[in-house]
């Protein structure tokens, strides 16, 4: 059972999507587990073959427990392996983990459900409709939404309490003139179709990712009494969920994504975060978190670091305020950017260099 964050202690295996004897490629979705953060798709991280399933659907196990055994990449599946008895259709059903979990809870046979989502995917509504058609025999759901919300609240509470208990935070803030970035963005979006348009958030996240190249001590984890740099720059984007709670899925290698790709990935993880269908790597890999409360009209946000990360960047609202330019006061779109840093890993001086780099990058948006 992988740890999908400092706040996770256990998970319940919902479903296996692969079977013993199946060949696995790095990145394949192998199972779905239920956590406080919703139904999460578990990926494999190496090529190989699924040898043995250890944990059965419905079982709750702690983080670190063995879910299955995979034979390494050098091992070929036995040539004489008998064909599996699982019908092909069972593997080809397009359905979100949330809908799949709901179907299991309600005992709905997916092979009898017609999907109305994109590419014929079965949606939660399709499952509910199918369940409603034979409601009298449907078993009650095992996890009520209120329980889910309470579990997520408890998980956030545990992680944030640990952070405040263990991490000596320091806080820095600066104000950045967004004129150049927004002028560039407006002109760029004029040229783009609606499907390719960028939000300011994409520029902010890319700028954070590039600034971390200058100050890598902010990108990684504090473990076993020392800073451990991240393997890449994986930006956790705090996304509030409708109905309460939040998750911060990672945009992997954000410093290497062009803005269009970054925007598409951001839209994708935001939609899946709210639909409850994130992947394990997206929850486990973030090397820093970015939060943006500007949409709620917040001027500045001094966030709490998500352990074991060592920094969090907060953006407030981009709003016109007086700004002195060449000795004259002008109305400029400004944003207050804050850095919460772990003083065990860095000092304010390094944090200041990061914010300076961020300002420089946002003043040259065409280079992002």
């Amino acid at each position: 059972m992988p740890s999908l964050g400092a706040d996770m202690e256990a998970g319940t295996l919902v479903e296996w999507l692969k079977h013993p004897g199946d060949a696995l490629k790095r990145g394949d979705i192998i199972a779905v587990v239920d956590t406080q953060k919703g139904a999460i798709e578990i990926e494999v991280f190496e090529d190989g073959m699924l040898d043995e399933i250890v944990v059965k659907p419905g079982e709750k196990v702690p983080v670190g427990a063995t879910l299955a055994r995979i034979r390494g990449s050098k091992v070929e599946p036995p040539a004489a392996a008998p064909p599996r008895e699982v019908p092909e259709a069972a593997h080809r059903i397009r359905i979100s983990p949330l809908a799949r979990k709901l179907a299991e809870e309600k005992g709905v046979d997916l092979s009898r459900v017609t999907g109305t989502g994109g590419n014929g995917a079965i949606t939660r509504e399709d499952v509910e409709r199918a369940a409603g058609a034979r409601a009298p025999s449907a078993p009650p759901p095992t996890v009520a939404p209120a329980d889910r919300a309470a579990a997520m609240r408890a998980a956030i509470a545990a992680a944030m309490a640990r952070s405040k208990r263990e991490i000596p935070h320091y806080y820095l803030s600066t104000t950045i003139d967004m004129s150049a970035a927004l002028t560039w963005l407006r002109a760029e979006n004029e040229k783009r179709s609606v499907t390719e348009r960028l939000l300011p958030a994409a520029l902010l996240i890319k700028a954070v990712a590039l600034a971390l190249r200058d100050v890598p001590e902010l990108n990684g984890y504090w473990r076993d009494g020392a800073f451990r740099p991240g393997a890449g720059i994986h930006i956790g984007c705090a996304i509030s969920l409708r109905g309460g709670g939040l998750v911060a899925p990672a945009l992997h290698d954000a410093d290497r994504l062009d803005l269009t790709t970054l925007m598409h990935q951001l839209q994708d993880v935001a939609a899946r975060a709210r639909a409850g269908s994130l992947r394990s790597s997206e929850l486990a890999d973030s090397t820093i978190t970015v939060t943006n409360l500007g949409e709620q009209g917040i001027e500045s946000t001094f966030g709490i670091i998500y352990p074991p990360q060592v920094a969090l960047v907060g953006f407030g609202r981009i709003t016109e305020r007086p700004w002195v330019v060449a000795g004259k006061v002008e109305a400029r779109p400004l944003v207050t950017v804050t850095l919460s840093g772990d003083h065990r890993a860095t000092d304010g001086h390094r944090g200041g260099l990061f914010l300076s780099a961020l300002e420089r990058l946002l003043n040259a948006p065409e280079k992002l």
Partner: protein, 84 residues
């Protein structure tokens, strides 16, 4: 497409983004952002859904005209050529 049909498309797009919305509770003249707690990502998804369903290219400078139910229906009716 009639204004009533466009209204239905708009409401359908909103309820896909925010499933908890009761369509009958949407105040036609009030801002979506204020009454439905939509952020810029939600709003972009809303515009994308309208683009997909109606085939209308909506420039960014026109986004403010989509901020209420009545405004969105009027704008989309004018862009789609009105009732056919």
């Amino acid at each position: 497409m009639t204004p009533a049909e466009i209204r239905s498309v708009v409401i359908d797009a909103l309820t896909k983004i925010a499933p908890e919305i009761d369509p009958t509770s949407i105040a036609p003249g009030a801002s979506f952002r204020d009454q439905l707690d939509l952020d810029s990502m939600d709003f972009l998804r809303f515009v994308l859904a309208l683009h997909d369903r109606l085939g209308v290219e909506i420039p960014e400078r026109d986004y403010p005209r989509l901020s209420t139910l009545d405004g969105a229906v009027a704008y989309l009716a004018s862009r789609a050529g009105g009732p056919r």
